[in-house]
Amino acid sequence: MVEKIAFVDVLKDKAVDDLLHDLSRFEYTYKAEITNVYPLTQTERLYQIQIKDPDERNRFIFRPGQFVMLELPGIGESPFSISSSPLRRGDIELCIRGVGNLTNFLARLERGAEVGISGPFGTSFPVETMQGQNIMLIAGGLGLVPLRAPILHVLEHRSRYGEVDIIYGAKQPSELLFTYQYEMWRKFDISLNIIVDKADESWQGPVGLITETLKERIVVRNAETLASNTFAIVCGPPVMFKYVCKMLTEAGLPMQKMFVSLERRMHCGRGKCCRCNIGSTYTCLEGPVFDYWTVMNLKEAI
């Protein structure tokens, strides 16, 4: 059976055949370095992570909304949304909340530490299709993290988009992410509206639920443009995006022009482990970005 065992050897040769190439990529991890890490809040840290090999770094092309699998050898592997601009390629930023095994271990690492990255995986926000139209970017809590890549993309291509609203709700002011960038976003002619559930002494902005701010912005942007000339991206916990999408639908925004990013347990990111399935849709392949029409048709999505 000599002709059969050849398969294994060919695999090592990195042969020309596409399948063999893909097969050898399956468990491939880019070596990357944490070049910087700083706390954004009590529980979230921003990690700047650079793929070490310059060629690999340059070839690492992703689209806003996609995620990577971050691997700490011996600790585990988990999915995280890329939170940096696509222009920076394999020099990415991840904003990570310490919640479990891997994320808490990560919080103890210092800059210079070597980690593994694979990906990018999943679907993305169709920022090209959105050109020429208004955009509403709506985030609740940690939802600002996956939203930051499309925000940065819009900032870098500001002339291609109409009016841009960011509507961002957090539990309390101390949980707000990327506070140091708000000034810059506003200077790029973006309407940034932040609301918190509970104020503290320093807080001067509005207090309440994100839907209140959204209601105001819907009035400002009026029903006509919403129906004909607007895209929305909504990221946050399921209860939040459910209400937000419902409001937007009632305001006339078509369901297929609303995009959400869903989160499920993931162990592979490659459509193999089934842990991420919603109904029988793989969140890692057909998501994490879905249009709202698709979400409505997914059994057990909301």
Binding site: K4, T29, I75, G76, C273
Partner: protein, 345 residues
Amino acid sequence: MIFKVFAKDELTRLFEVLSVNRVVGPVQKGLDRKNRPIYSFEVVDNFDDLRLDYPSTLYPAKRYFLPFEETLSSFTLESGSWEKHVDYNVYQPQVMFGMHACDINALNKLDKVLINSVHPTPYYASKRRNMFIIGIECMPQPHCFCRSMGADTVQHGFDMFLTDLGDRYFAEILSSTAYNYLLKIKTMEASETDHQEYRQVVREKSSKFTTHVDTTDLTKILDMEFQADVWKQWGDKCLSCGTCANVCPTCYCYGVQETVDMNLQAATKTKQLYSCNLIDFAEVAGGHNFRPEAHIRLKYRYYHKHRGFVEAFEESLCVGCGRCGESCLANINVPEVIASVRYEE
């Protein structure tokens, strides 16, 4: 397709020719509580240990393709740096001697997700491609409903398929490897009599099915009955033990774990087959569980197999082998579950 026939004792010769490789086949592995023999796919050294007339096995041959536990990679760790080593765990070709059509169909279904997909998995592909598979015709057992699932015959995914014609075997030859091996034993061209006898066996098999599942419009019915009470009733019985996935030839879901060696110089990334009926299957950090209740998980298992997979590949992810029903302590089985969802009870 090429057909040949050969006398029964020639099969022993074929076994010997093939046995320079590792041969896996059905053997009897003891008795169950009711004194019925238990059959299992094991490594076979001696042709006489093979039970080619086995009714069915408790476990599928899955572990030779998708081991329950498998090392995906290992790491050497050295002062803040590491190297990753990947091994697909194929050390020798294997011969599968005597698989039923349903189990070969199960492999063909696994191929669709695991090889012919966006991220083909080398661990499975390398084992699958290094197999020589001999199929063997069988007679339906009371729990078999492969015919309803279109899995009672198999068109591809094997090297040669044998049908017992009494004093000789009728061989369907699919691969050149199989053809070459058959040159080493005494075979004859299949005659018109052989064809007729073969068709007779197939007719007999077809007439012997006692369990049926109606799959007409099933994807739509499953969608309509997503909130149906029957799920709750089955779910209340389910022990969330995961046995059904364990014995299923088409279940492939898994979990990944990494561990560091005691000396802190090496680490291992291990994959373990899992089951969507286990409680933490869809639980995320912080404790939120997307499928907290047994009936929701059980329903998900049926949806994945009989709806989602059908949507993606126009066939179901169930071959109707009936193993899950046979092994379930709560007596939950596909024909009854589907019938109840269709309100046919």
